[in-house]
């Protein structure tokens, strides 16, 4: 039983690490703000779920699991909200969502 749990948790952790990495590369390489946000959100949701889920399986039924669940819950609530607020603020300020390699109009103004 323990072996099965270990294997599942390793798979989760590795997959989580892969998603986090992919999201990071996306946030660096994507052409404009909104596509970058799209890439970054992968790390905040799927990455977090997989990594924290993997750790939860390792922790077993302890207080630590509850704390991990709380962390996951708060991350899942806060990061989409932050993304929404960010996109909204950028939109109002006039950063245009354009397909392809849109030149960034506003440079740090």
């Amino acid at each position: 039983m323990q072996v099965v749990l270990d294997i599942i948790s390793w798979v989760l952790l590795t997959a989580g690490g892969a998603f986090v990495l992919v999201g990071g590369i996306g946030a660096l390489r994507m052409p404009n703000l909104y596509t970058r946000m799209h890439a970054a959100s992968v790390t905040d949701t799927v990455g977090a779920i997989l990594v924290l889920g993997g750790i939860m399986l390792q922790a077993g039924l302890t207080l630590a699991t509850i704390k991990l669940a709380a962390i996951l819950l708060f991350l899942l609530i806060t990061s989409p909200t932050a993304s929404y607020a960010l996109a909204n603020a950028a939109m109002i300020a006039g950063v245009k969502p354009e397909a392809g390699r849109a030149p960034d109009t506003e440079h740090d103004s």
Partner: protein, 95 residues
């Protein structure tokens, strides 16, 4: 296995930092600050287990909560600045 996740997180943090330094708009920087925050939460959770100290999870919890406040504060700031700008613009057009 924790090492794999830790290394992935660290590399992602480095990539996010590059994005924060490059910009080009302020919103890109806010995005990377936010990403950095969630990556720190993951990193701390993993380190807690790597070091065998589950009581460090309190820290990750604190980060998950506090980072949100920082990002919201920055955005509120930009929004009020945009609002001021729009207002000045409309005043100029009226005159």
């Amino acid at each position: 296995m924790y090492y794999v996740v830790t290394i992935a997180t660290l590399v992602t943090m480095a990539l996010a930092l590059v994005r924060a330094v490059l910009g080009p708009t302020v919103y890109d920087r806010v995005l990377s600050v936010n990403m950095f925050g969630t990556k720190t939460v993951l990193l701390i959770s993993v380190i807690a287990y790597l070091a065998g100290r589950p009581d460090f999870l309190d820290l990750a919890l604190a980060y998950a909560l506090i980072n949100f406040i920082g990002v919201l504060a920055v955005l509120e700031f930009f929004k009020s600045r945009t609002a001021r700008r729009l207002q000045e613009q409309s005043e100029r057009e009226e005159n």
